[in-house]
């Protein structure tokens, strides 16, 4: 199959769906790759590097759409591109079918198959083609860089000869992929990071990234998680509590990064005008939800706004495109994984298997029919696991009580054991001759010493221990030595054999132990 990547038509879009690296991998699957001239220029891949990777560079978009059987793109097609689609062709791109019904109908009419990268279901098998996550990751990283660009101070706290610098305080709202990436980036720059999310199960992830989770004290335990690992709208009471918490933070934090989105709805307003007013001059708000209306009241999409009190509110919507090289590399890899799943036999033939959860979920038009929305996937989505209830810390009294109880039961067990053991000894003493009891004392004491000594043996020396105990259990040779001079021939023969094998045991055991121990070397 011929797979072609045209130059992106949307204004300001610098990404490209095919990189020289992904082209090489696609060729291994038996495909042929095409690229429109100049398609990768803005992402840092010129035509020559494509040619070196074995990609055919095509002169015009029209020629590419004509030649390619599979067209891979970043942005959804515009009208002109949709008209170029033909029956039997496959288009793979971000499509947003729920918001673009007219375009969906237009594509269906052409008879082409459209695979929407934004519709890849969130199951673990499909993570490698989850382009939304890869882009969100970049957005989160870039948001912190953008904040640093607009913020007049260091992120990290320092003590310098010229005075002490406090660390920047960053608040991240919404701990999805973008939020977590932002937390990671900000903490690694040295900032003090706090984070909030309506889904309490992400608190562990937040803490693992090195941020503090802002916990809401709310009776109906905050729980806004929905299947698929996305957030759902919250109740008015909950919202009030949440805003109250943010208001408290507003005067303290230097940088706010909001990433709160609810699928299929406008972004919730979480950072209100009065909170911006409370912030210190020079503080920065980065609104990653600007495309969906923004989480902050002051946000204007694609613009940098400065409030009356000198707070910078950034509403850019094109973070991935601002890091076009990285974004293209990741997006092209996601596309490549999708094509790998579409080419199961690695023979360059695409098999559109509508039984496959991932392919079915992402396909929005197929064989002149609209296949959106997809049925729920057969495999359960990730991230829906409920958090475990926190175990109650035992109070000091309870701890002490349980300790004394454990001690008591231990004492009881020991006393019972001693009593039973003593009784048995007494019984044995009644029947056994005195000479036996003398030996028995030696035996019991030796067992005790053995237990004490062996517990201290290092685990790593257990094999040498077995070899050395093997050797000393050859002490049975003494029994044979005592008998070998007997007057009876049979006894002498039996004893002689015993001497022989016990000697093998002793010598073999000790020598092999020495060999082993000599191997243990310190670095």
């Amino acid at each position: 199959m011929k797979i072609g990547a045209p130059r992106e038509s949307a204004r300001g879009e610098a990404r490209v769906a095919l990189t020289p690296e992904s082209a090489k991998q696609l060729q291994k699957l038996g495909h042929e790759c095409l690229v429109e001239t100049g398609a990768g220029a803005e992402a840092g891949f010129n035509d020559d590097t494509y040619r070196e990777a074995g990609v055919t560079v095509v002169d015009s978009a029209a020629a590419l759409w004509r030649d390619a059987e599979v067209v891979i793109k970043v942005r959804e097609p515009n009208d002109e591109e949709a008209e170029r689609l033909r029956n039997g062709q496959t288009l793979i791109a971000f499509f947003w079918p729920a918001q673009n019904e007219a375009m969906l109908e237009k594509c269906r009419a052409t008879g082409a198959t459209v695979i929407a990268m934004d519709m890849v279901p969130r199951i673990s098998r499909a993570q490698k083609m989850d382009a939304l996550s890869s882009m969100a990751n970049i957005a989160g990283y870039r948001a912190v860089i953008e904040a640093g660009n607009n913020f007049g101070r260091f992120f990290t706290g320092q003590v310098t000869a010229a005075g002490k610098v406090p660390p920047a305080k960053v608040l991240v709202i919404g701990a999805g992929v973008a939020g977590l990436a932002a937390i990671g980036t900000a903490t690694s720059l040295g900032a003090v990071v706090r984070a909030f999310d309506v889904r309490p199960e992400v608190s562990e992830q937040i803490e693992s990234m090195g941020a503090e989770f802002l916990f809401l004290d709310f009776d109906n335990a905050q729980d806004g998680s929905e299947s698929g690992g996305y957030a759902s709208p919250s109740s008015p009471e909950f919202r009030e509590k949440q805003l109250e918490c943010f208001r408290e933070q507003a005067s303290d934090v230097d940088i706010v990064i909001t990433t709160a989105l609810i699928p299929g709805r406008p972004a919730p307003k979480l950072w209100l005008e009065d909170m911006v007013a409370l912030m210190k001059p020079g503080s920065v708000v980065i609104d990653l939800a600007a495309e969906k209306g923004g989480n902050c009241d002051l946000t204007r999409a694609d613009e940098r706004v400065v409030s009356d009190n000198g707070v910078v509110v950034v509403g850019y919507t094109d973070y991935p495109s601002r890091m076009a090289t990285q974004a293209s590399l990741l997006y092209a890899t996601n596309i490549r994984h999708m094509l790998t799943d579409l080419t199961p036999d690695k023979d360059g033939v695409i098999q559109h298997n509508m039984e496959d959860d991932v392919i079915r979920g992402a396909t929005v038009t197929h064989q002149s029919e609209i296949t959106f929305p997809p049925p729920p996937p057969k495999t359960r989505a990730i991230g829906a696991a409920k958090p475990k209830p926190k175990e109650k810390e035992a109070t000091p009294e309870e701890k002490r009580a349980s300790e004394t109880a454990a001690f008591k039961s231990q004492t009881k067990r020991q006393v019972t054991l001693l009593a039973v053991g003593g009784a048995l000894m007494l019984l044995l003493g009644q029947v056994a001759p005195a000479s036996f009891m003398q030996h028995f004392i030696v035996f019991v004491l030796a067992c005790f010493i053995g237990f004490q000594v062996i517990w201290k043996v290092s685990h790593s020396l257990h094999t040498p221990l077995m070899a050395v105990t093997n050797a000393i259990s050859g002490i049975i040779i003494l029994g044979a030595v005592l008998q070998i001079g007997s007057g009876s021939v049979i006894v002498s023969i039996l004893a002689a054999i015993s001497v022989l094998i016990a000697t093998i045991n002793i010598v073999g055991g000790f020598l092999v132990t020495r060999r082993m121990l000599a191997m243990f070397q310190k670095s």
Binding site: R125, S460, L461, H462, T469, G487
Partner: protein
């Protein structure tokens, strides 16, 4: 001829030296000195006992000792470290057999002394042991018989059990659990029969009872160990180690020799503790292991999601080059593939590149307690980077790359996450907490317990299929 006083003093010295020798194994450096204590103790014990009163037959004893020493030396020189479990099992069988012989002889001597006493009532010149028997009162002789029975029974079980364990470990006997029809009922029957024979013997029946008793015990040892699978061998070998000690102690009682009793008790308790540690590490009790097989599950196993994703040498190598900390978790598969020196080369390269490399050893990894440590030591891996499970288990979360080589059940997260799993509750190495886990494995398949391992399906796991040695060797040239 030395007097009895000399012999006793030597016995005390030897006992102390043996205890020091075992105690010295608490660390690697002391151990090298401690093994000499053991050797000297043994030399003192044998030398002074052999020169003691009433000992004869030197013309037979000395050649036997020399031949035995030559064979023992050759064995110890030749054995490969991967064959250590077999060697240990084989040596146990010798102790068992010697115990049976000595106990038989003891009874023959007893009969001879009694016969002489009945014949003329005159005490002629007896050799060492016979002379001792001659001084015993009737009730002491009764106890002697009980001790003889114990010595024969334990010794015989140890003998055949060790022979079978040797066969299984050496691959000469099928490693799968095998039992005759009737299973443990046969063992129980044989045990009851042995008890009956013992009672007959105590009531004055002839020497044939002891021969039959030994045969029955041989059967029990054979059948018991045949029913235990290969991976449970660490427990079996340490159990047999314990038995060989108890057999020696029983013989010590028979011969009224305190040195034998002390040494037997030391060895017996050592084996018992090792078995206990092994069982604890598998979260199973001793009876369960010996009677064989894993218990039934308590419910359906949790479903496993995801897929096993394989990776090639390039991928593993680049991850290793990027990593700062690496933990290697070896298992029996590493010993089977003889991959330890390849692993050692890899470790050297990684350490030369300034990376932190450590090993995590599960107590039941391998076929003998501490087996992995010896293999790694042989391959010149320094022992201070080889850590026990408890020492390293909390460090996985901060580790970049974990390489699992030929182990399966000991890294199975189901043991902690799935209460219905047959191995639920078993302590395992938490490798899945690391950023990335590479599993070096021959092919898809389950471990000894026969249960699926969810680790292989985790998002941060990658399967690196192939023979362990070749796989690791393939990585070497790619290390920067």
């Amino acid at each position: 001829m030395l007097s009895q006083g000399f012999v006793s003093a030597a016995a005390i010295a030897a006992s102390v030296l043996f205890i020091l020798s075992l105690g010295g194994l608490s660390n690697q450096e002391k151990a090298k000195r401690a093994v000499w204590y053991g050797i000297i103790g043994m030399a003192v014990a044998v030398f002074f006992t052999a020169l003691g009163p009433g000992i004869g037959g030197y013309w037979l004893m000395i050649p036997m000792i020399i031949i035995g020493a030559v064979i023992g030396t050759r064995l110890a020189r030749r054995v490969e470290m991967t064959e250590m479990p077999q060697l240990v099992a084989a040596l146990h069988s010798f102790v068992g057999l010697a115990a049976v012989f000595v106990a038989w002889s003891a009874d023959l001597e007893r009969r001879r002394v009694l016969a002489e006493r009945a014949a003329d009532g005159m005490m002629q010149e007896f050799s060492a042991f016979a002379a001792l028997v001659a001084t015993k009162a009737p009730d002491e002789l009764m106890f002697l018989q009980v001790e003889v029975v114990l010595g024969i029974f334990i010794g015989a079980v140890t003998f055949t059990g060790s022979v079978i364990a040797f066969g299984k470990l050496a691959g000469k006997v099928d490693g799968k659990p095998r039992q005759l029809p009737g299973g443990h009922l046969l063992n129980a029957g044989a045990a009851v029969l042995s008890l009956a024979l013992a009672i007959l013997y105590l009531n004055g029946a002839g020497f044939w009872t002891l021969l039959l008793l030994a045969l029955l015990a041989f059967f029990i040892g054979y059948h018991l160990i045949m029913g235990i699978g290969g991976a449970d061998m660490p427990v079996v070998v340490s159990m047999l180690n314990s038995y060989s000690g108890w057999a020696a102690a029983a013989i010590g009682f028979t011969l009224s020799n305190d040195l034998l009793i002390v040494t037997g008790a030391l060895v017996g308790s050592s084996g018992a503790i090792l078995s206990y540690i092994m069982c604890k590490a598998m979260n199973r009790n001793f009876v369960n292991v010996i009677l064989g097989g894993f218990g039934g599950t308590q419910g359906p196993a949790a479903e496993i999601e995801g897929e096993q994703i394989s990776i090639d040498a390039n991928g593993v190598a680049s991850a290793l080059n990027d990593a700062e900390s690496v933990i290697i978790v070896p298992g029996y598969g590493m010993a089977v593939a003889q991959a330890q020196s390849a692993v050692s080369d890899l470790v050297r390269k990684l350490r030369d590149a300034g990376k932190e490399v450590r090993f995590g050893i599960h107590p039941v990894a391998g076929r003998l307690p501490g087996h992995m440590n010896v293999l790694l030591a042989e391959a010149r891996v320094p022992y201070d980077i080889v850590l026990e499970m408890d020492e390293i288990n909390d460090d996985f979360a901060t580790t970049d790359v974990v390489i699992v080589i030929g182990s399966n059940d000991i890294v199975n997260p189901a043991a902690q996450e799935d209460p219905n799993s047959p191995i639920a509750g078993m302590p395992v190495l938490k490798v899945w907490e690391a950023k990335q886990v590479f599993i070096c494995k021959r092919g898809q398949g389950t471990g000894y317990s026969g249960i699926e391992n969810p680790l292989f399906f985790k998002d941060n796991s990658r399967m690196y299929y192939g023979d362990a040695r070749e796989s690791i060797n393939a990585l070497l040239p790619m290390m920067e």
